[in-house]
Symmetry: C2
Subunit: 227 residues, 2 copies
Amino acid sequence: MTQYQIGLLIYPDVTQLDVTAPLQVFSMLHNTNIHLLWKTLEPIKDMGGFIITPTTTFDTCPQLDVICVPGGGMGQVDMMHDTQVLYFLKERAQTAKYITSVCTGSLILAAAGLLQGYKAACHWAFRENLGLMGVEVSTERVVIDKNRITGGGVTAGLDFALVVAAKLCGENTAKFIQLLLEYNPAPPFNAGSPEGAGEELVVMVKKSGSELIAASLEASKEAAQYN
Amino acid sequence: MTQYQIGLLIYPDVTQLDVTAPLQVFSMLHNTNIHLLWKTLEPIKDMGGFIITPTTTFDTCPQLDVICVPGGGMGQVDMMHDTQVLYFLKERAQTAKYITSVCTGSLILAAAGLLQGYKAACHWAFRENLGLMGVEVSTERVVIDKNRITGGGVTAGLDFALVVAAKLCGENTAKFIQLLLEYNPAPPFNAGSPEGAGEELVVMVKKSGSELIAASLEASKEAAQYN
């Protein structure tokens, strides 16, 4: 049986659920080795202060079948400027079977030049930024374009990971995991999309994230110049 | 503004998404202190080997407004027998505003005598076990019975946490978080419930978890005798 190497990038100020939701799905595949990748093995903290411990450094990372880049807070913008991270992603992408992201992780992939000419998803509040870098922005929750698989905002990581699981191990395995995780969602409100939530909440969320959205926009404009 | 103390129990062999999904929602509430609770501050490993670092020990834990107990693998059964854990839950429950669980965490709450006479949810494959302990088992995804709020299997933790967020901080705040997390789920398959997945997959999941289900059944029978 093929043993798949799956690498999830982590970094300071990442959004933990962008990582932990796919991780939960991937860790239920029998034939995978999962790597939480960072520059060192020192634990990092997510946006909310949750401690995540890397398992593998960039230097010791084996060849990857799947690369997954999660989104985050200001740390996500830092990653768009981090040449060590961008180089690592570019280099590993050359041999990866699937190059993937969740949420604003697609902005990092695009900053590494890995999504230009592809269709991709992003958190709804950051779609404009992705478009600036020459990526065809989609509003779909999970977007497959050749070997690029990208998910929308945060919780899309679950839908995304089941799609990746099906690609790697077949639909029946993905369904098995979906049943095991009882993924039969029933959100108590209809506020999970800008359309469902309505203008007032959209403005509130954009306002609360205005600093991050602006910083990410600047980074996207810069990245557009060299990609 | 009220500052809520939210404590999530963690333990070796916990299912990380049972913890990290609610944690993601709770960490987006402004007026909360969140505690990842265990006996010591030594990191533990979840079912899939993911390292989770406790933030607060039982001894140093402040009075809690919300207690949340997640499910897990064999570690979940261990917790049903762990007098230190059961005592901690019982003792803290006396002053908590909400006593809650995700997935098979309800079996631990029941083993602590905290769900008898209440209606509660559990992972679908473990509902019988919960019923044995004098709990009224519900097939709903999130169950509210007075100050007990319980979620179904693993991913129900998201729906559950939004319900708790609404209880603590109002519906508008919960909707704000739902939009921020773009929780507009679109599972690629209809296999998230036993009904949707069909008999063949149900048998496969039960078979793969047969040892755990049996051990948990034994623990439930024992707990039924002293609760």
